[in-house]
């Protein structure tokens, strides 16, 4: 599995072969607060890079989840739909959102590595 990459919309992505796993970052969950609702794309649909691919709602507000890469949705994590609190518990592990069969791995090139993302997150939240 590749090292995780990060988007400015606070998603993380890892790549294994041509299947990408996508979730939201720990930093995102800390900004959102307690997550109480999650909506994921349907299996079999195609999503476009930077397009909406889901929704999370905290007790405070709703926010869209974007996909940092284009592809076909091949799997979704029903566990986080049934128990959205899991997203706060392990956002960058067990609480992944969806898996995509990707079209073009070069779309990942514009994303940040962990160090870059941490710097970005720190700068944008202060």
């Amino acid at each position: 599995m590749s090292e995780a990459k990060f988007s400015k919309e606070h998603e993380w992505i890892t790549l294994e072969g041509e299947v990408a796993t996508i979730g939201i970052t720990k930093h995102a969950t800390e900004m959102l607060g307690d997550i109480v609702f999650a909506e994921l794309p349907e299996k079999g649909t195609n999503v476009e890079k930077d397009g909406t691919a889901g929704v999370v709602e905290s007790t405070k507000a709703a926010s869209d989840v974007y996909t940092p890469i284009s592809g076909e949705v091949v799997d979704i994590n029903q566990n986080i739909v049934d128990d959205p609190a899991k997203i706060n518990e392990d956002p960058e592990g067990a609480a992944w959102f969806f898996k995509l069969k990707i079209k073009d791995a070069s779309e990942l090139d514009s994303l940040m590595n962990k160090e870059e993302y941490e710097k970005f997150a720190k700068e944008t939240s202060s």
Binding site: G33, D34, V36, F37, E57, T59, K60, A62, P84, A85
Partner: protein, 367 residues
């Protein structure tokens, strides 16, 4: 520049995330988060800084009760000293300028007003009252609420004899060589108290409550608690265009006042006699989807029939909950309705309020 309450430093010390609210810097949540804070209040004792709310004192002996009855649709003549009632400041069209708690004191009345409305309320009330009364929006006092099943035990360690208070009653209590005014009231659906205390003494007072096991709770949990309890938030569920009858708060206007004169009384009487077109109801979506304020409500035939005014996830009832206004014929319990969230129609049902019910303590003697 937003104002700070006397508890500002304490909020920061306890890791509060501060937001602007009604011109004040207020804590939306602390480190443990809204759900934990909500549950802690339901199971233990939560402390709320409500110092941003207005504490309006109106003093005078000459016909004050009679003159206030011309402003508020409440029976003040029958109110005993230290008794409180929920009421409204209304306009001539029967709409609500503010919802409030009025308490009869010895030679005066204390009215607790919403923060965002307090200045306008003050001007309206002042204009309606004679110059012979002293009317004071007291900024030298903080207001602290302690709510939850253990509120009486925690507060009881700091102030003696508070457990004799009955719900919606108040009294003066000795604290730190002076008197503070405490009412048994609150806005969470739990037993609890509201303490009016000198700004200089507020921080130490709250510190002591914390030392006895209570925790600071932010505005986020205050909102989920009040919504579970079916209580209205002014600005969301109530406004200048909505009457108490439409808001399903008819219970707050006593029968003895229906035929008497107060702002909007003609309209209120007509609405009581003839009914209203829209009514506030409780709403339970059938899924976990949250329907926030302004969500449109439809019937089975796709006809728009109203809108949501408050919606959240209820941490104690563990489901999505909302309140809103629907056309009157859709107001019966269990009526099937649909909420338009992000372009999709989510099935929901009209339900009874409150979503969460716990019996208020009536006050115990000789405890």
């Amino acid at each position: 520049m937003n104002k700070k309450t006397p508890l500002y430093n304490l909020h920061i010390q306890h890791g509060a995330k501060m937001v602007e609210f009604a011109g004040y810097q207020m804590p939306i949540q602390y480190k443990s988060g809204i759900i934990q804070e909500h549950k802690f209040t339901r199971e233990n004792a939560g402390i709320f800084d409500v110092s941003h709310m207005g504490q309006l004192f109106i003093t005078g002996s000459d016909q004050l009760t009679e003159n206030l009855e011309k402003i508020f649709p409440v029976n003040l003549k029958n109110l005993k000293t230290n008794q409180s009632k929920y009421s409204f400041l209304m306009n001539e069209h029967g709409g609500i300028y503010d919802d409030l708690i009025i308490t009869k004191l010895k030679d005066s009345y204390l009215i607790i007003l919403n923060a965002a409305c307090k200045k306008q309320d003050f001007e309206i009330i002042k204009k309606k009252l004679d110059d012979k009364y002293e009317i004071n929006l007291d900024e030298s006092l903080s207001l602290i609420a302690i709510q939850g099943p253990k509120a009486k035990d925690v507060l009881g360690k700091v102030v003696s004899n508070i457990n004799n208070l009955k719900f919606m009653n108040g009294g003066e209590f000795e604290y730190d060589n002076s008197n503070i005014y405490i009412t048994r009231s609150g806005y969470t659906g739990e037993d609890g108290f509201e303490i009016s205390i000198d700004n200089q003494k507020a921080e130490k007072f709250v510190d002591r409550l914390i030392n006895y096991g209570a925790k600071l709770i932010g505005l986020g949990a205050r909102d989920t608690l009040r919504l579970e309890a079916g209580l209205c938030l002014y600005g969301n569920d109530l406004d200048e265009k909505t009457s108490p009858i439409e808001a399903n708060l008819k219970w707050a206007i006593p029968k003895s006042r229906v035929d008497s004169n107060y702002p909007g009384s003609d309209i209120i009487k007509k609405q009581i006699d003839d009914g209203v077109k829209t009514l506030r109801v409780g709403i339970k979506p059938e899924t976990r989807v949250i329907a926030r304020g302004n969500t449109k409500i439809f019937d089975q035939n796709d006809k728009e029939i109203g809108k949501v005014t408050s919606g959240t996830f209820g941490p104690s009832v563990e489901c999505s909950i909302a309140m809103g206004y629907v056309e009157n014929n859709y107001s019966p319990t269990n009526t099937k309705i649909f909420l338009e969230v992000r372009g999709k129609k989510v099935p929901a049902n009209v339900c009874d309020l409150p979503f969460y019910k716990k019996n208020y303590v009536k006050g115990e003697k000789n405890v």
